[in-house]
């Protein structure tokens, strides 16, 4: 569950990214975040896993108030929020398998469970045969899928994807969307920033449009709403 109230964010360089965001996202929802580049989508997403702190306002994630969250507890918040980064953020020296396993080593999962879970998600994203490859040996789409696998491997309550289909061919995009729907069906909250009109208009979900740091539209089963 995500709650934001009157959230403002001005970066140190003076750029104002958010101008008073009010939003409620319930557990198990599937939300698209749309809007032009530089509108504040990424900042909005980064607030959820506390990569960015708001200048003003309150944010509550899974009943945790981020403004009073101690620095030491931040890693534990992040374990409940799986993030698929726009630039994947895979560890370059580790194989696909090791990258995914890392998220489980962090929570001190048993080696047997790690092996099982990692193989399960690798199968889910269709990369079982490339488990031993390091990121540089994988294509952009494959790296994207490794990042997805890592984000969901420890069954987080919330999964966030920042333009997950930006680098993918249409076919792989649909595959990834199928994975997202699958984990969403299991009760995971899914938040996805996207520029893909086709996806938003085909798989109808709640749409939040951000422009100039404000939410200008919030509708269930909405349209992408921008001309491509």
């Amino acid at each position: 569950m995500i709650k934001m109230k009157d959230v403002y964010k001005t970066y140190a360089n003076g750029v104002t990214a958010l101008n008073g965001i009010d939003i409620n996202i319930d557990q198990g929802e599937f939300v698209y975040v749309v809007g032009p580049s530089g509108a504040g989508k990424s900042t909005f997403i980064r607030l959820i896993y506390r990569e960015v702190k708001p200048t003003d306002g309150t944010i509550v994630i899974n009943n945790t108030d981020l403004s009073t969250l101690k620095e030491k507890r931040v890693p534990f918040l992040r374990r409940d929020v799986g993030v698929i980064f726009q630039d994947f953020k895979l560890l370059p020296k580790l194989s696909a398998y090791e990258n995914i396993a890392f998220a489980l080593e962090v929570i001190e999962e048993s080696p047997r469970n790690i092996r099982k879970r990692v193989m399960d998600v690798l199968e889910l994203v269709g990369l079982k045969n490339k488990a031993r490859f390091i990121p540089d040996e994988l294509s952009g789409g494959e790296q994207q899928r490794v990042a997805t696998a890592r984000a969901i491997v420890n069954n987080p309550k919330i999964v966030i994807a920042d333009e997950p289909t930006g680098n993918l061919d249409p076919e792989t995009s649909w595959e990834i969307m199928r994975v997202f729907e699958e984990i969403n069906d299991k009760g995971t909250t899914m938040i996805m920033a996207t520029h893909s009109q086709e996806i938003v208009n085909t798989i109808k979900k709640r749409v939040i449009a951000v422009e100039d740091g404000l939410i200008v539209r919030d509708e269930q089963r909405g349209d992408y709403g921008y001309e491509v």
Binding site: K72, P75, R79, K89, L91, F102, V106, I107, E108
Partner: protein, 297 residues
Amino acid sequence: MKYRTTKRHFREGAKNIFRNGWMTVASVGAVTTTLLLVGAFLALMLNLNHMAQGLEEDVEIEALIDRTANEEEINEIGSAIEQMNETETVAFSSKDEELSQLIEDMGEEGSTWQMFEQDNPLNHAFTVRAKKPTQTESLAAEINNLDNIQEVNYGRDVVQQLFQFNEYARNIGLVLIIGLVFTAIFLISNTIKLTIMARSREIGIMKLVGATNNFIRWPFFIEGALHGIFGSIIPIAAVLTGYHYLVNNLSGQVTYAFVDLLPFHPFAWQLSLIILLIGTFIGIWGSVMSVRKFLKV
């Protein structure tokens, strides 16, 4: 922290040693050079200390007795000295013994003293040793106050200078060693910082995936300890062989008879252990220091 996590940290730390290739060599090299210097200094300092202590302990008081004193008075002096608190041992030596000792000490020239054997100009004497070298001065003064004592000798200036020199040597050596250790820490944390610059992105990623600071720090801790341990290998080998060689070559040589080195066993081993500990400390400190600023994500 669970056992398997500990194992994981050890594995990662060891792997990083290989992943970082030349940077590892640079760090280990920095530790090695420092430890070589530290080892040499330590060996020198501890031996100087040992020798000074030996000399200090050799300091004896010689109390010359008035030639007019009779046997009874001499005995009285002897028991009086024995009863003093600071006295460790008292030994009486007659003037005849003193003379033959003198002749012996003088070697070739001693024969000229033999003519005095008939009419010995020396005094009977007590040789006194204080319990602690530092008590020598007060004990000598006390003995001097007794009756029938002609003169008390204990090499006051030599003792004072010895204490002084010893103290200087100790302090200077300590400052040098501390300075060296910090230089090494600085060198290593800089070297590791270079490897971490490259890894700072990775540290950021780990944090975003939910790793705690300690989880990230541990492998660096292990890696640093390994740098230190590898870095102590050459210095320890150098200390062991070098010291072995030194002890073997100096002992038995008359010219260096006054050089009283600490015995190879156990000194060389103790020194090796100290080097290993300092090396590990330097490695860990340098490594952990350099991660710190990259953990704020």
